[in-house]
């Protein structure tokens, strides 16, 4: 089974996302972590990933740029991307869906929200 890639510059946030994923239907999948968008792209270059879970506000390459790069890559454009960020309002949510986010979740992240997002991905 292809692994999940978690992208967040905060170790604590990555641990929270792992914890939330552990109660979803995707529990048990291997997880790879990256601390920013550029690290994520490097991993995506050499690894087949089933799902990206990414923050927006990160150094080096932010989540907006990462999402755009994934959606414009012929090889990666079909990889689902769940965005998890504190910077979610009506404006950013609409923009994120417009550029191709599969799901948009606010922080603090709850297991319930992650379960719903994973369920929606599988149903799509």
């Amino acid at each position: 089974m292809k692994p999940i890639l978690i992208v967040d510059d905060s170790l604590f946030a990555r641990m929270m996302i792992r914890r939330c994923l552990s109660v979803t239907s995707l529990s048990g999948r291997d997880i790879i972590e990256a601390a920013n968008g550029q690290e994520a792209l490097d991993i995506l270059d050499r690894t087949d990933i089933s799902l990206v879970v990414a923050d927006l506000n990160m150094p080096v390459l932010d989540g907006w740029s990462l999402l755009r790069r994934i959606r414009t890559s012929p090889r990666l454009r079909h990889v689902p991307v769940i965005v998890v960020s504190s910077l979610i309002n009506d404006e950013s949510r609409a923009d994120l869906y417009r550029i191709g986010a599969s799901s948009v979740l606010g922080k603090p992240l709850s297991p319930k929200a992650m379960i719903a997002a994973c369920f929606a991905l599988e149903a799509a």
Binding site: D9, S10, L11, F12, A13, M15, M16, R19, N57, M58, P59, S85, S86, L87, I88, N89, D90, E91, S92, G106, K107, P108, S110
Partner: protein, 148 residues
């Protein structure tokens, strides 16, 4: 839109309850930024208006909140995860504040900075919260601040 103090206090309570199941109650106590053993984090508000959110709390409370948030913090990760936890907390508070105040505008934050030890009180209005008998201090500095 100006920041209403009651709105900010409610938001802090909501975020701490959601993130770490903590009961944070506004307190009249004056928060002491000079106390030893303090952990702090600050984050810049970049858009739609500028400012800064700074939070500080004693180490034992930081450990307790991080532990509760993760349902058990591995001891080997405590020292590395604590500054990260504070950075994530300030990021979450500031992001939710901007999102609540400006639902239809682009919002942006800087990256959180963290540190430990006594520090000068930041500019702005400091709110004190009682979390299980321990004080947590939170300063909001922005031109869009209203005291109602």
């Amino acid at each position: 839109m100006p920041v209403n103090h009651n709105t900010f206090q409610e938001l802090v309570g909501d975020v701490l309850a959601s993130l770490a199941f903590a009961d944070a109650r506004p307190s009249e106590a004056v928060f002491r930024w000079s106390q030893p053993g303090l952990f702090w984090s600050e984050i810049r508000l970049d858009a739609p208006h500028t400012g800064q959110v700074t939070l500080a709390l004693p180490r034992p409370l930081a450990v307790e909140l991080a532990d509760d948030a993760l349902g058990g913090l591995p001891p080997s990760l405590t020292e590395a995860a604590l500054p990260d936890f504070l950075g994530e907390l300030s990021n979450t508070l500031a992001g939710n504040l901007l999102a609540r105040l400006h639902p239809g505008k682009p919002i942006a934050l800087g990256l959180p900075q963290t540190g430990r030890g006594p520090r000068p009180a930041p500019a702005g209005h400091t709110f004190s919260f009682d979390v299980g008998g321990t004080s947590l201090g939170l300063t909001l500095e922005t031109a869009a601040c209203a005291s109602s």
